[in-house]
Amino acid sequence: MSPLSLSFTLNGQAVMAGADRHRVFLDLLRDELGLNGPKYGCGMAQCGACSVLVDGKPARACVLRAARVEGREVVTLEGLAEGGKLHPVQQAFVEKQAAQCGYCLNGMVISAVALLRANPRPGRDEIREGMRDNLCRCGTHQEIIEAVERAAELLAEAGEGAHV
């Protein structure tokens, strides 16, 4: 359990952090790096509340060992907005009021960003399928699906690849 020294990119900035090899990445992000976006929900990769993007792919930080992000590029909810302007997916979630308590929102936004990158024009069923491993107990599902559809429009307007 000797401490590792890790270096990776977090929201565009180079980060050096120490962590023992079993340390879970979510703890590192929240407790040491001061981030609030990724949430602890289940710790078992079941709910998605802790989602982050690692090299552009969604990952569940609650089961991801910190050692795995060495040399990777990590983007969290905090890193999506650019120059004070909301990312189109965030903007779409606000427009469609796609949260009640909002505790699941981090996972929903991160998953939507990843989903839309892989499939810029998903149909409703593809959205349902793409988001199905994210849990929301408040039952905001309808608004979330509408937000993902709206985000696809906004991204298309903004032009491909303009955002993370």
């Binding site: 079993h22 340390r23 703890d27 407790d31 001061g34 981030l35 609030n36 976006g37 990724p38 949430k39 602890y40 929900g41 289940c42 710790g43 078992m44 990769a45 079941q46 709910c47 509340a49 690692v54 990952a59 569940r60 089961v63 991801l64 060992r65 795995r68 969290t76 909810l77 905090e78 999506l80 907005a81 909301l86 965030q90 979630f93 606000v94 009021q97 949260a99 009640q100 308590c101 909002g102 505790y103 699941c104 929102l105 936004v109 349902r128 399928e129 988001m131 199905r132 994210n134 849990l135 929301c136 107990r137 408040c138 039952g139 905001t140 599902h141 309808q142 608004e143 979330i144 699906i145």
Partner: protein, 832 residues
């Protein structure tokens, strides 16, 4: 603040002076309310009310909700009563402030008092104007609330009734918003609780008296260790970081006395009737006993509702700072003032000495562990003399949360020769209370005796005209820890009423909606039922229609309820009616809810978007509860410890949802947080009946199949998600089912690796299996009791196997009904 000026409106209440609304010299308006935002957007709705009275843009109003130091004690945020009850003095206070500003403004502008106009934070007269800020600057005025203060006429509303975006949403979308789980207090250390083996139980001699010993020396050298704190059965580790606290807690050797088995809840109906209860007579109109004998059509039915999890997505969290006996507790509680009383009992302090600061948490839908964890944090803060944060794990939250209670309803009723509903009796058993704070039970501060409560009486009286009624609630203590959950007892009671009405209509050979309308005297309710049926495309029928396409059967169902909350006879919140469509796979019994139309009458609508969001949430959550959810129990504790064994609603189950809000701007605003949930179960059951001719009287309509969830993902998927590397421990290729083998390997590993290994396996491979003894500490406890727990687990595994083999309830019932269905749908739909 008062050097820049402050004008406020206060009220002297029995528990002291409270301010309802204030404006400072910078023009900032703040409203105060004792209720809290449970994720329902109440902060936005209350801001709208204040902004409306003061003619301010919504963004200029801030709300402080639920801080005990500065908000009134308005009781817990339950029963959807924030808008209906708690907002009333707030609105009057805002109107009074407006009155003051108008008067001051008129004086300043040399205008007649009734000639000025208020708009956008200024008082205007002809072409002169003065800002609120300028009027307040340098003033220090506190006005007593005038309960007679006239409020704005709803006809003049510009903000209330308009869709307003949630004020808290943009910062939530960027991760800037601080939930209770995100709070950091300077100098804070971290506690991790070690709970006793009797998870989810709250009565019996063993409560608070089961901890035999623990070995602090074994963990004192671990990194970050600060202390082990014990009081009765309360046990926790404190460390510098949360991560360290958890590791130490898992490594701490503890021995507990084995608790006695929990009541057998495998047959809920029997268990509920067998437990001690006290009948309380409610509505006794007419003479039921005589009248039932006069009925030509007569039915007796019982309906069973299962235990549910509230299932907050974020486990509960709190931070406490002792501050030399004037503690501050940061909390996600639903009921700050009630919590303060509990914490006073816990510490022996005067309630006034304790301050609760309320932050938003994950949605709770009722009473979860939010209050318990405040007790935990406060005990630790007192022991440590510095701020302590405690966050529960998913398993702790799931095991210990006071469950949404099971319920049994027995209905007897009949129709007289005239064709009218003539007699109706309902007996309801609701084993739940207000969920005494766990810290009080664990420390022995309060006795672990069974505590009944009176909350089974919600919506016990059917809304229909019946001359002879006999309504009885059987007040009873919880059998396992249980407290209110969305819809409280009204949801199961309505499941009974509205299924029974459907059954009677069928017996009488009448269309179910027409039958209801014929017995509905309240014109507003009748209007709601009529309009909902019409808008939703209700198809009249006098029996099940057995619409089939191949193996799929299709049905449509109706149910209506006015949610009556508060102790009998209670107060009405919004009324809601459902029309829903289901598809039933006649081979597997799988039910899919495809479409839901909800009509709702909530009087004046404050924020239509907020109301619709509540309806959508109620539909999704309650459909899931009705169709799929049930807490299973083991010998000692509830079974589920994670979402693997308690699957909740997912995107693929989203039906098409449509809403119709009935506009009644001249009627008082009614609570909408739960109303749309209340008719759900009956509407779905009635739709299944229409499709299949089968009556389901026991929820969930499809038993959960625990093994179906995440566990069945291919191994590669686990890798992708970054889970534990199976190769690392020589586990690659080991089938998931070999749980015992995994445990054996964990035992063989060097002791120092055990916690990590077990935890890793628990996370990656078999969450619900290993979480059962998911820590080294639990494993030791298990050895201590001679392997008893292992035996239990094995038995449980066998039972899980059984559950998996049990066909879905619908499938089962379908087989019973198969003959009649297959023989002739016509014959089966006959009416007597």
């Amino acid at each position: 603040m008062s050097d820049i000026g402050l004008v406020s409106v206060f009220e002297d209440r029995p528990d002291g002076r409270v301010t309802h609304v204030q404006i400072d010299g910078a023009g900032q308006v703040t409203g105060f309310n004792g209720h809290v935002d449970l994720g329902t957007g109440i902060e936005t709705a209350l801001s709208q009310i204040v902004a409306e009275e003061l003619d301010l843009p919504l963004g200029d109003v801030a709300m402080v909700l639920g801080d005990t130091a500065c908000t009134p004690d308005q009781g817990p945020t339950i029963a959807s009563e924030t808008i209906q009850v708690a907002a009333v003095p707030l609105r009057k206070a805002a109107a009074q402030l407006r009155n003051y500003l108008a008067g001051e403004g008129a004086r300043r502008l040399n205008a007649p008092a009734d000639g000025v106009e208020l708009r956008g934070g200024t008082v205007v007269w002809k072409d002169t104007q003065v800002t609120y800020a300028a009027l307040v600057a340098g003033k220090d005025v506190a006005m007593r609330l005038d309960p007679e203060m006239p409020v704005k006429d709803p006809k003049d509303y510009r903000i209330v009734g308009q869709a307003a975006g949630r004020v808290d949403l943009p910062s939530k979308a960027t991760g800037d918003f601080a939930y209770i789980q995100d709070l950091k207090v300077a100098g804070m250390v971290h506690g991790h609780v070690v709970r006793p083996p009797y998870a989810g139980r709250d009565s019996g001699d063993f409560i608070g008296r089961s901890l035999v010993s623990f070995d602090e020396a074994a963990v004192a050298q671990m990194p970050g260790f600060l202390a082990v704190v014990r009081e009765g059965d309360f046990l926790a580790v404190v460390a510098e970081t949360a991560h360290q606290a958890q590791r130490i807690a898992e490594a701490l050797p503890v021995s507990w006395r084995m608790p006695p088995p929990a009541p057998d809840l495998s047959d809920l109906k029997h268990a509920l009737k067998a437990a001690p209860s006290t009948p309380r007579a409610l509505d006794r109109t007419g003479d039921f006993d005589a009248a039932i004998g006069e009925c030509g059509i007569r039915l007796e039915r019982s309906y069973v509702w299962p235990y549910h999890l509230h299932g907050s997505i974020g486990p509960s969290c709190a931070v406490a700072d002792w501050q030399d006996g004037r503690p501050v507790v940061w909390s996600g509680t639903q009921n700050p003032h009630m919590l303060r009383g509990d914490l006073a009992t816990l510490t022996g302090l005067d309630p006034e000495a304790i301050e609760i600061r309320r932050l938003q948490a994950a949605g709770c839908y009722g009473r979860n562990c939010a209050d318990d964890v405040c007790g935990d944090a406060l005990i630790l803060a007192r022991a440590m003399g510095c701020p302590v944060r405690v966050q529960l794990t998913r398993a702790q939250e799931t095991l210990w949360e006071p469950k949404g209670a099971a319920q049994l309803m027995e209905v007897s009723g009949g129709i007289a020769g005239t064709g009218d509903l003539h007699a109706y009796a309902l007996d309801t058993w609701y084993p739940s209370n207000r969920g005494p704070n766990l810290s009080l039970l664990l420390t022995g501060r309060i006795s672990p005796e069974p505590r009944p409560s009176d909350m089974g009486d919600r919506t016990t009286v059917p809304p229909y005209r019946v001359p002879n009624k006999k309504i009885t609630v059987h007040d009873m203590a919880p059998m396992v820890r249980a407290a209110w959950m969305r819809g409280v007892s009204a949801l199961p009671n309505t499941f009974a009423h509205e299924s029974f009405m459907d059954e009677l209509a069928h017996e009488a050979g009448e269309d179910p909606v027409a039958f209801r309308l014929r017995h509905l005297d309240d014109p507003r309710a009748a209007d709601l039922v009529r309009r909902t049926a019409a808008e939703a495309g209700w198809e009249e029928r006098t029996g099940p229609r057995f619409r089939r396409e191949g193996r799929m059967a299709y049905g449509q169902g109706f149910a209506y309820a006015t949610y009556v909350h508060g102790t009998f006879p209670g107060t009405a919140a919004a009324a809601a009616a459902w029309v829903c469509d289901v598809t039933v796979d006649t081979l597997t019994g799988e039910v899919t809810l495809t479409r839901v139309f909800v009509g709702q009458d909530q009087g004046l609508v404050i924020n239509p978007d907020g109301v619709r969001a509540q309806i959508h949430g109620n539909v999704m959550q309650t459909a899931s509860r009705t169709l799929h959810e049930e807490v299973a129990f083991e010998e000692i504790t509830p079974a589920p410890q994670s979402w693997a064994t308690y699957p909740i609603q997912t995107f693929d189950r989203l039906p098409e949802i449509r809403t119709m809000l009935i506009e009644r701007p001249d009627e008082p605003a009614l609570g909408v947080g739960e109303s749309a949930a209340v008719p759900a179960a009956a509407a779905i059951a009635n739709a299944i009946f229409d499709a299949t001719g089968v009556r389901l009287r026991e929820a969930p309509f499809q038993r959960p199949r625990p093994a179906r969830f995440r566990r069945h993902r291919p191994r590669g998927e686990l890798h992708r998600l970054g889970a534990v590397d199976p190769d690392e421990h020589g586990l690659a290729g080991l089938p998931f089912a070999f749980a015992d083998e995994l445990l054996v390997r964990a035992r063989r590993a060097p002791p120092v690796d055990q916690p990590r290994l077990v935890e890793g396996l628990g996370r990656a491979v078999l969450p619900e299996f290993l979480a059962g003894a998911g820590t080294a500490a639990a494993m030791r406890a298990e050895e201590h009791v001679g392997g008893q727990m292992l035996g239990i687990r094995q038995e449980r595994r066998q039972r899980l196997g059984d559950v998996m083999r049990v066909p879905a309830q619908v499938g089962c019932a379908l087989r019973h009904a198969a003959t009649s269905v297959a023989a002739s749908s016509r014959a089966a739909s006959h009416s007597l």
